[in-house]
């Protein structure tokens, strides 16, 4: 009998791609022979906009890169500018930043778990995940009035202090969350079908993972104990006690487990942050700038200048975002607008490994492997 290779197009609007991505698959029956990824359906020209806006005007655009976890994006950008201009950040601001980022990490992983399970066909987990996410979003709303795109972390500090009643609510959330994670594990981890779908699927060795430039949980799932929070400590992470979550198998299940463990670790970090947060009310400092500072200085803290110009220079600054290494390469020519903003987004680089991982697997495996890489298309296409 004559057989023919099947060319299958998944996407750009396909229910399993987390956004607009397109897989061009060359199939032999159900088996994938070759996988090509076509992207750019959400390419919004963020880097060009970076050159057109002033430094502070660009912060909202960083929110919309990885829209599930916007705080780390804000922070990575602010950190790059702070390194470039040599700005010192008040301690309390750093505490608040870490608090928001770790909370965001939990949310990110909740969304990851939900969408992974939904792609595998179990719709309940995403409902449960979003139930808890909603509670965390209420905390964010208290903080800055936004649910997803915060624009809260600014170069030199954060926009505002913690509101009254934030910490008790946070504690409530933390206590609740701990139980919930156990619930999720009970629902998912002991499910035979889930294990069948995840174990030994999309395996990538440590060597290859490094060579492909994987970072974050995807890399740690392959047994590389690597976390920028430990290797190149920034903010207050050196003072905090946490461990790097590693799994050695390198398959989809390992990547999933890393994220579950990370949620627990983030809870641990959050508890420490809440316990040791300094009382000082100063959350922002602004000692830089060529333009006159506008606005009234408030009694509580200093204020942000609307326009400022860091000294000419180049900087590459990176942080451990929930999805991996998020870096900003900023070139300043001494004016009020960046000369070049290059975003090293974790999703884009992690996605590189997918064509390698899925050859010889089946379509359902592609979905499982793709789900555990956890990309956000805003981050891929920028």
């Amino acid at each position: 009998m004559e057989t023919e290779e099947l060319l299958l197009n998944m996407g750009p609007v396909h229910p399993s791609t987390h956004g607009v991505l397109r897989f061009k698959l060359r199939m032999d029956g159900e088996i994938i022979k070759e996988c090509n990824i076509v992207m750019g359906y959400l390419h919004r020209g963020t880097e060009k906009l970076g050159e057109m806006k002033t430094y502070l005007q660009f912060t909202p655009y960083t929110d919309r890169l990885d829209y599930i976890s916007a705080f780390p994006n804000n922070y990575a950008y602010a950190k790059a500018i702070e390194e470039l201009a040599g700005i010192e950040v008040p301690l309390r601001a750093e505490y608040i930043r870490v608090l928001t980022m770790e909370l965001n990490r939990i949310i990110n992983h909740l969304v990851f778990m939900g969408s992974l399970l939904m792609d595998l066909g179990a719709a309940t987990m995403i409902m449960w995940g979003f139930r808890e996410r909603e509670k965390a979003l209420q905390l964010f709303e208290m903080l800055c009035g936004a649910r997803m795109t915060f624009n809260y972390i600014k170069p030199g500090g954060v926009r505002d202090d913690l509101p009254d009643g934030f910490i008790p609510k946070l504690n409530e959330f933390l206590k609740d969350m701990e139980k919930r994670i156990d619930d999720y594990e009970q629902l998912i981890n002991e499910n035979e079908i889930f294990l069948m779908r995840m174990k030994n699927i999309g395996v990538i060795s440590a060597q290859e993972a490094i060579n492909y430039g994987l970072t974050g949980p995807a890399l740690r799932g392959s047994g590389v104990s690597y976390d920028i929070r430990k290797l190149e400590p920034y903010s207050i992470y050196p003072d905090l006690d946490f461990k790097v979550c590693v799994q050695s198998e390198g398959d989809s299940f390992a990547r999933y487990m890393v994220r579950v463990d990370e949620m627990r670790e983030s809870l641990h970090i959050l508890r420490q942050v809440v316990d040791t947060m300094p009382e000082a009310k100063i959350v922002a400092q602004a000692k830089y700038g060529i333009a006159p500072m506008t606005g009234m200085p408030s009694a509580v803290s200093t204020y942000f200048p609307r326009i400022f110009a860091p000294p000419a220079g180049e900087v590459y600054s990176r942080i451990e975002a929930p999805k991996g290494e998020l870096g900003f390469y900023i070139v300043s020519d001494g004016t009020t607008k960046p000369y070049r903003v290059k975003i090293r987004s974790p999703s884009f680089c992690n996605l590189t490994a997918i064509p390698r991982m899925v050859v010889g697997l089946k379509i359902p495996d592609l979905i499982a492997a793709f789900g555990t890489i956890d990309v956000v298309l805003g981050d891929v296409d920028r």
Binding site: M118, L120, G121, A122, A123, M127, W128, N191, P364, I367
Partner: protein, 365 residues
């Protein structure tokens, strides 16, 4: 003795005192067979109406059960507790544009929904809804059911192929592979039940489950055939194509599987057939293993009514289980499913058959 719905209708008419009169009219024209045809027609209309209403109710129930598991409300706005939702969906789907893709095979594309839908209704003919509430007690009822259910993969293949869409084709291929490999354990476990009753008639199967052991435990086949029951349950869920075995239309992989290209009423027919199938299969499970309509009889209430209620309670329990399962487990992979079917289910079914044979020959029960 009333044996089927035909006789029941005649009996009811006689009780009302009109049967003789109507019969007389027809006889005076010498066409009393027309009356028979009319009664048969009426009972079939009643059955199909009942099934369709149930199916609509099932779509509502499915959405409510899903919502319950996921700590939501589900449909609330349309009608009390959203009860009118399926009606609204139906009316809307009738009013939708009916698209036939340009490169599709028009005739087969149009035919396929009917080939799916009609067998889904025909399955109900030998299904006893209650004592004497059966359209026709075919002496080969079980064989008929299995044969009719085996029609559906053909229709799915037609639908998938005629759509001229890669997703549809793959969905159809999967559906066929799945149906074929699970019909075998399904039939084998059904045969084990038949070995006890010695009859393929569904009525005989239910009757064989009447009574109790020691006055407490009902003589249902689930207690004699626990392995058979589990195999039959898994196989029938697989054949229905529900999660965890719903690759024919697995959303995240194949968009909507074999009915990706269908819209409007044709899509609704697939949708209805799916739920009719769910209802039918649950009814068959109840008939084969859970004692059918057998249960306590109440005084002063016609046994037909109590038995119908008992049958429906049991069937809805099975349906609820299927819905519950759908919300808690992920989907298996197609090759894993086939492996499970051929390497585990079929050998186990054969083993079950062997054991049953020994028990029947030894005459233990």
């Amino acid at each position: 003795m009333i044996e089927n719905a035909y006789q029941l209708i005649v009996y009811v008419l006689t009780l009302l005192g009109v049967y003789e009169w109507i019969y007389g009219i027809f006889q005076s024209f010498g066409i009393d067979y027309v009356l028979q045809i009319i009664i048969v027609f009426v009972e079939i209309v009643i059955l199909f109406a009942f099934v369709l209403v149930t199916v609509m109710f099932l779509t509502w129930m499915e959405r409510k059960v899903v919502a319950m598991v996921q700590s939501r409300y589900g449909p609330m706005v349309t009608g009390p507790r959203g009860l009118l939702q399926p009606v609204m969906d139906g009316v809307k789907l009738i009013g939708k544009e009916d698209i036939i893709p340009a490169k599709a095979d028009r005739w087969i594309f149009t035919l396929a929904p009917f080939i799916v839908f009609i067998p889904a209704l025909l399955v109900f003919i030998p299904l006893p809804f209650g004592k004497s509430l059966i359209i026709s007690d075919l002496r080969v009822g079980l064989l008929y059911i299995i044969a009719i259910s085996a029609m559906s993969p053909v229709a799915l293949l037609l639908a998938g192929w005629a759509s001229n869409n890669k997703y549809s084709l793959m969905g159809a291929m999967r559906a066929v592979a799945q149906d074929i490999s699970y019909t075998i354990p399904l039939a084998l476990t059904a045969i084990a039940v038949v070995m006890f009753t010695g009859s393929l008639s569904t009525v005989d199967i239910v009757n064989a489950q009447g009574g109790t052991w020691f006055g407490i435990i009902p003589k249902w086949f689930i207690f004699i055939q626990p392995l058979g029951f589990i195999l039959f349950l898994i196989a029938s869920i697989a054949e229905m194509g529900r999660i965890p075995f719903d690759f024919q239309e697995s959303e995240s992989e194949l968009v909507a599987g074999f009915f990706t290209e269908y819209s409007g009423m044709k899509f609704a027919m697939f949708f209805l057939a799916e739920y009719a199938h769910l209802f039918a299969v649950s009814g068959i499970i109840v008939t084969l293993f859970l004692g059918g309509w057998e249960g306590p009889a109440l005084p002063f209430i016609p046994v037909q009514l109590t038995s119908l209620v008992i049958f429906l309670i049991k069937t809805y329990a099975v349906i609820f289980f299927a819905m519950w399962l759908r919300d808690t487990v992920p989907r298996v992979r197609i090759d894993q499913l086939l492996n499970l079917g051929w390497k585990i289910m079929v050998p186990l079914a054969v083993l079950n058959l062997l054991l049953t044979g020994f028990i029947v020959v030894a005459g233990v029960i």
